[in-house]
Subunit: 520 residues, 2 copies
């Protein structure tokens, strides 16, 4: 069991951190060039140089102006258990046959005891350019972490954001169920989708493995194959049904259903059939759950079904029957939910699959992992495309809140700057556009980057919260966003800024930096 230093200097046994959920997440889950670069650093005697990398993204997905950050726990689990096994080393020797034995001995010794990880809490609402994770450590080790960190954060954040967007359109009172396992990109595409859609605001999943792994509530409907496995009602052999309280047994449930059906023969559709069964069940003390609509005009059919349920309630004096749950599924996505809202519908629960879990409208988030400082020297990546210029330096990041409790702006500062203070006027500058600047007087200041892995430093480590806590954080953070940032059409961009000092430094560096790749 590991021990970590406490804030007061004493050390205590912390909760041990388990391995990554997916056993395939090992130190080999990285790009080959991370190993060849590690070798190059080692060969040049640079591998122990202390480097700082920022993991961030450049553009919010789905044409929106916000992103939900997810995937952090799996990153921390990876580094907490990061080491190469004998077999890994043998494999790497076969891949890099010209490298010295000493390099492989070095690889054998690598762990993350000297790596520090600072991150925005998982489930937070986040914005472009602000580091989600800041990783410090020996450059060769941190370089090896680039690929798995980006992999673990990219899809997790993308699908959590997609889920949050679906929740935003569906409204708070609807039940949202993730039904995507069969269409997901591979087995843990499905398992990850279930986890991160739950964080983003879904209520349940159909994925039993995810329910087992994460304790997510499980829900389902029924399969068409079951229905079509019956040629006719004559095939129903077991006709009796005991009443719910066990006090009596109906010897021919089918006849009871048919009796009800004859009273309901108004509408030629599945609805009277369902109601007949539900009413027969009701006679025996059971409560039917509801219906699922899986095709056709969902707005119309749900309204018709609701009217039928209400007329049954009235006609037969069955209190509550009108509130029977209507579930809809059938290639639903943000657009169709929005269209249903506009038409008016009577759906209580949505089962959403393909478009949600594969993030069909934008299947990737472009997280990057950039060197911002090495040996205490800030580094900048220049590009003709200003959106690709990185923000140099080891930084602190803050979210400033206004009077109404809404988030106003995120600001990045150099590490040694005085942090923003409540009630104190502060100049927030666009990192690259000179004319964009504003004074802000924050009513509340939240430091965004927290220490999740202290390495050999003295800092206290944030515990990894439970999945439900992460989900609660997400729901709370989405609440704290001004609605104009959240709307689907033409949302207002949320402002991300740098301090005056950092602005000046970026532009000093920009001018002084020689083009990358020039030896002279």
């Amino acid at each position: 069991m590991e021990t970590i230093p406490k804030e007061n200097g004493s050390t205590t046994a912390a909760t041990p951190i388990r391995a990554a959920t997916n056993p395939m997440v090992t130190p080999l889950l990285t790009d080959l060039y991370q190993f060849t670069m590690a070798y190059a650093y080692w060969k040049a005697g640079k591998h122990l140089e202390r480097a700082v990398f920022d993991l961030y993204f450049r553009k919010n997905p789905f044409g929106g102006e916000y992103t939900v950050f997810a995937g952090l726990e799996e990153c921390i689990r990876l580094i907490a258990n990061f080491h190469f096994k004998k077999d890994d080393i043998s494999f790497m020797r076969s891949v890099m046959p010209n490298c010295e034995d000493e390099f492989f001995e070095y690889l054998t010794q690598i762990d993350c005891s000297d790596v520090e990880v600072y991150a925005i809490p998982e489930g937070s609402v986040v914005f472009p350019k602000v580091p989600l994770i800041r990783i410090e450590g020996p450059v060769a080790v941190v370089q090896l972490l680039e690929t798995p960190f980006v992999n673990l954060v990219n899809y997790a954040s993308l699908v959590a954001t997609n889920a949050a967007r679906h929740r935003f359109v569906a409204g708070k009172d609807k039940m949202l169920m993730e039904f995507g396992l069969r269409r997901a990109q591979g087995p843990d595409g499905g398992i990850s989708a279930s986890k991160y859609c739950y964080i983003g605001g879904f209520d349940a999943t159909s994925n039993v493995a995810a329910g087992n792994l994460f304790g997510i509530p499980l829900r389902g409907t029924h399969s068409h194959a079951f229905v079509s496995s019956y040629m006719s009602p004559d095939e129903i052999v077991v006709k009796s049904l005991r009443s719910h309280d066990g006090s009596s047994t109906c010897m021919d449930f089918l006849t009871l259903v048919r009796t009800w059906l004859s009273k309901l023969q108004v509408m030629r559709s599945g609805i009277p059939n369902f109601c007949a069964v539900a009413l027969a069940l009701n006679d025996l003390g059971y409560t039917a759950s509801g219906i699922r609509l899986d095709s056709g005009d969902l707005a119309y059919l749900s309204t018709e079904a609701r009217n039928f349920f209400l007329s049954v309630e009235k006609e037969f004096n069955k209190s509550g029957f009108g509130k029977m749950a209507v579930t809809a599924s059938n290639d639903l996505n943000e657009e169709t939910l929005d269209a249903l809202n506009k038409q008016g519908h009577e759906i209580d629960a949505f089962g959403i699959g393909t478009y949600l879990v594969t993030c069909y409208t934008q299947a990737a988030l472009g997280c990057v992992f950039k060197l911002v400082e090495i040996k205490d020297q800030p580094r900048i990546k220049l590009s003709e495309d200003v959106t690709k210029v990185s923000i140099p330096c080891k930084k602190r990041c803050f979210r400033l809140y206004g009077k109404e409790g809404y988030a106003l702006v995120d600001i990045m500062t150099g590490e040694d700057e005085t942090p923003p203070k409540v009630g104190q006027r502060l100049l927030c500058r666009h990192p690259f556009n000179e004319s964009k600047r504003a004074y802000v007087v924050p009513q509340c200041v939240e430091e965004l980057l927290r220490c999740y892995w202290p390495g050999s430093s003295n800092k206290p480590r944030e515990e990894l919260p439970s999945l439900n806590k992460v989900r609660e954080r997400c729901m709370q953070q989405l609440e704290q966003m001004r609605s104009d940032h959240m709307r689907r059409l033409n949302p207002t961009p949320y402002k991300v800024s740098v301090s005056a000092k950092l602005y000046d430094f970026i532009h000093f560096l920009w001018l002084s930096e020689a083009p990358v790749g020039e030896l002279q």
Copy 2:
């Protein structure tokens, strides 16, 4: 170790089938409703009824007219090791607290010893409506397999097809490298992408874990962070380099590079720098691998680089220098490859990531799993949308080839029909459109569905071929397709047909079948 019956009736020990590559692929990786349906079948005494399900898709992806079938091996691995562990059962009890103990005892006993799986070989080119996999067995067990089978086939086939399409555009002589791990949908989104892109015709991956698991060749370039970790050439401490044959040591390699650079000072770009290093390395008996272009106008830059290499070859009489490899990466996809071809370029190798592995232009393939027969009774799924009507019956499927060796048509027949014969005229009918029919005289007949899991039957089991064999099959099958089916713009649909007998039966069933869900 299992034993399987041989064709001649004797049994022999077969190669044991390993568990699925991803340890998260367990019998719990399914939708909740598969368990509730299994319970419903069990409760109705129907769970042992022998059912036949077809796994197929309805539409080729990416606007194309072909699909590469992949994912079969993982399906077979799942069923070969299919059983519920004690913990699984405890979990299911907690999820379904109202079910009888006897049901969970039944679950405990379930395996796939009584399930038969017939499939088209992995790596084959396949078409809509034709079953990729036909699964027969006790209905409750086969129902549990629906979700994991569809999950394992959907993404695998989608990304293999995407890779094949990229290969088609790039041409056979280019090196194609899959660089998608960091942008893939989760860890095994990345690992699966590497495997199935290789099957679809890629040459290598950057993903070390996939290289380790599957023996796929590994390739990589170099990282920007390594370049920017150097403030200036003064930081290069180790300046000496031993010659490749070990006979001498250059004490100041940097000066050697600068000497070459002064001879090359023609072009203000990274190319002279690279050439100076390559030439200095060449002096010491090493061969530089090449350059990577990661931004800018790839067609122009590659041509300029090639010209520079050729002029270096000529100027300094360095034989072969003009053939220096040019690798390109930078958000490449089918469209950009096509555009590069049209402009003319000098790129030898492409590194392709995001668009390839996430299947950005179409992030999901819609495989379905439909009941086609139960207790020897054919079942059909009707729908107002004719593309959603299923083709009933336990079927055999054949591919008919013409004189030039190209595939002409796929045909499905009832199980007991006489199979198509070489040289014999055969009527092939569109399954739903009366007017679409043609006589075909096949020059070669290939039976598509083979037995990969004989269950308790007497049939010999196909061995699971190696990854390289699957890849070869794919390359070969793509070759056997007529080019008009393969082209990117307006490809000709490949014909999928049914026998006259099956056609008549479908339409007899269609007319006689009462709408699903009606009790009367």
